[in-house]
Symmetry: C2
Subunit: 299 residues, 2 copies
C-alpha cells in the first residue's frame, strides 16, 4: 500500500473521496456529508468513519483534501493563492492538519484573482479540476465552465489559471424557487425541455437578469408556462444568462454528467459548442499532480 | 359628504387609504395590513375596521381600490388592460365588489404589455401612479421609475403608458440577504453610503447580475467591506444594475421619499438626473381621474 493515498473533495454540501494508487483511482466514495453537516467543527471525527474501509487496510494512508474544507467555515482556513495559478503553486501552499488516527493530511488552497469586471473573485475546489483538465487535454488555452451553485468561467493559459468569474447560477435558482414570488405554489418540478429552451432563449433578449427573472411570473400568468414548467424555465434563464457572457462560441465544461448535459443542451441552442470533461476525472488528475509535487515526504 | 369618497392602494404587504373630497385628499391611513395578512380571503371584513372612522361619518362612502387587491390572490381578480393604457381605459374596466356595509366599491385593473425585451410584463397599482404623474406634470413623454419589490421602468406618451419593464430589485435584495450565502452571519444592517456607492459603481462593470452579486461575498472575504456594509452594498449593486438599463440620462422617480432618495443618490453617481414625485400624490391624482371617468354614478 506504499503508493496508495486518498484524494478528497469536501464541499459545503457534498463529500467525495477517491482511493488513489499513484495516478489511478482504484475506489471512490460519495456521501451527502458536506461541511454543513459537521457538528461543532469535529471534522476529523466526521471524516474517519467515511474513509474507515480504506484505513482498515492501512491506518496511515496519506490524505490530500480540496474544496471548502479549506475555508473559514472548514477544517482549517488555508489562504488563497493569487493568480496565475498552476498545480505547482497549489502544491507549494498546502497546509497540514493533524488526524487522530495518524494519517498525514494536507489541504490544498483555493485561488483568488480579479475577474473580467475587475472585481475580486475566489474559488475552492475548482482550481484542482482546472489544472487536472489542462493535464488531461493539453492545449495552449482553455476556456472552461465549471457549473454549480457558484458556477465558474475560467481561462487557462499553458495549464495555469489566468482569470475566472463566478456566476451565482445554482444558488439564485434555488433561492428564488424556494423563497420568492416565482416559486410560490409550485408543484414538484419536472425536467421539461421546452420550458428550459424558452428560458435559455429569453435570457438572450433581456437587458438584465433582475428583469428576465420576472418573466417566470408573467409567462405563468398568461398561461405560456404551466406551474410544473417554472423550475425548468428558471434554470434555462439563469444558464442562458451565464452562457451569454462567454467571449467565444466554444468552451470546456467540467462537472457532473447531469449538469454538463444541461449546459451542453443550452449551448446547442445558442450555437455554442461545449466539450464535456468528467469532473471526477479532472479532480483526481489535478490532485495527483499536486500530490506528486508536494515538498518532502507526505507519508 | 356627497363629494367624499375613498381611494385605496392595497398591496401584498401594505395598505394605504385616502379620504378624498373631489380631487383633494383630506385624510389618510397607512397600515401594515397587506393582502398577505388577510385570513381566509375575508377582504371586506379586513377592510371595514381600517376605514371605520370615515364610515362613521357616512356609511356609504364610495370606495375605489387599486393594487394587488385586483389580482388572483386579491379580493377579486380584475383582468389586466392591454397597453397603451390611460386613465380612461382603467376607468372603463373597473370591477365592482359588494361590501356588507353598503358602500359601492370598485377595483381598478392592472396593465399588461410586452416589455423592452419582447416578454410579457404586468403591473398592478403603478398604472394609477403613472397616469397621476402625467396629469400632475404634463409632458409629451415621461420616462418613469417606480422603485419597489418589483421596480417598474415605464414610458408614457401623451399621458398613456406605452411600455414598461419590471426589475425584481427589492425582492432579489430581500431574498438574497435572508436566504443566500451573501447574507450569512450578518449583523443588523445599517444604511451606509460608501458601500452603497461602491455597489452602484461595481454594477456598471459586471457583465451579468449573477456575477456582480458574488462580489458581495468576495469584497467581504478580502475585507473591503465590513459585515454591516453588505446590505447597503447589495442595494447599490441591484439599483445600479437597474439604472444601467435606462435609455436616457434623466427620468422621473415616483415612490416613497426613502426609496426615491436612494435612487436619486445612485443616479447622481451615474450622471443620471432623477426628478422625484411623491408616490401618494401621484396615486390620489390618478385615482381622482379614474373616479371622475367612471360610467354612471358610483354613489
Amino acid at each position: 500500500m506504499k503508493k496508495d493515498w486518498i484524494a478528497i473533495d469536501w464541499g459545503t454540501s457534498n463529500f467525495r473521496a477517491f482511493l488513489m494508487n499513484e495516478n489511478l483511482c482504484t475506489d471512490s466514495i460519495s456521501a451527502p456529508c458536506g461541511l454543513m453537516q459537521v457538528r461543532d467543527r469535529q471534522f476529523a471525527a466526521a471524516l474517519q468513519p467515511l474513509i474507515q474501509p480504506w484505513l482498515d487496510r492501512c491506518t496511515s494512508l496519506p490524505v490530500l483534501m480540496a474544496g471548502m474544507v479549506g475555508s473559514q467555515q472548514g477544517w482549517r482556513e488555508v489562504p488563497y493563492v493569487t493568480l496565475p495559478v498552476g498545480y505547482q503553486q497549489l502544491a507549494q501552499h498546502v497546509v497540514a492538519v493533524p488526524t487522530p488516527w495518524g494519517s498525514p493530511c494536507q489541504i490544498v488552497p483555493g485561488a483568488i484573482g480579479n475577474n473580467a469586471s475587475g472585481l475580486p473573485d475566489v474559488m475552492r475546489g475548482e482550481e484542482v479540476q482546472l489544472v487536472g483538465l489542462a493535464a488531461l487535454y493539453p492545449q495552449r488555452e482553455h476556456h472552461v465552465i465549471l457549473p454549480g451553485t457558484h458556477s465558474k468561467h475560467a481561462v487557462l493559459h499553458h495549464g495555469k489559471i489566468r482569470c475566472f468569474s463566478t456566476f451565482m447560477t445554482g444558488e439564485i435558482y434555488a433561492v428564488m424557487l424556494s423563497h420568492s414570488l416565482l416559486g410560490r405554489d409550485l408543484p414538484q418540478a419536472t425536467e421539461e425541455n421546452t420550458a428550459f429552451a424558452l428560458g435559455v432563449k429569453n435570457a438572450q433578449h433581456a437587458p438584465c437578469l433582475s428583469n428576465a427573472l420576472f418573466s417566470a411570473r408573467t409567462l405563468r400568468l398568461n398561461d405560456t408556462l404551466a406551474p410544473d414548467q417554472i423550475a425548468s424555465y428558471l434554470s434555462g434563464l439563469l444558464i442562458g444568462a451565464e452562457l451569454r457572457e462567454l467571449p467565444q462560441n466554444e468552451a470546456w465544461i467540467v462537472g457532473s454528467p447531469e449538469l454538463t448535459e444541461r449546459y451542453t443542451r443550452a449551448g446547442h441552442l445558442l450555437d455554442i459548442t461545449l466539450y464535456a470533461a468528467d469532473g471526477n476525472d479532472c479532480f483526481t488528475r489535478g490532485m495527483s499532480l499536486i500530490y506528486q509535487s508536494l515538498d518532502g515526504e507526505i507519508v
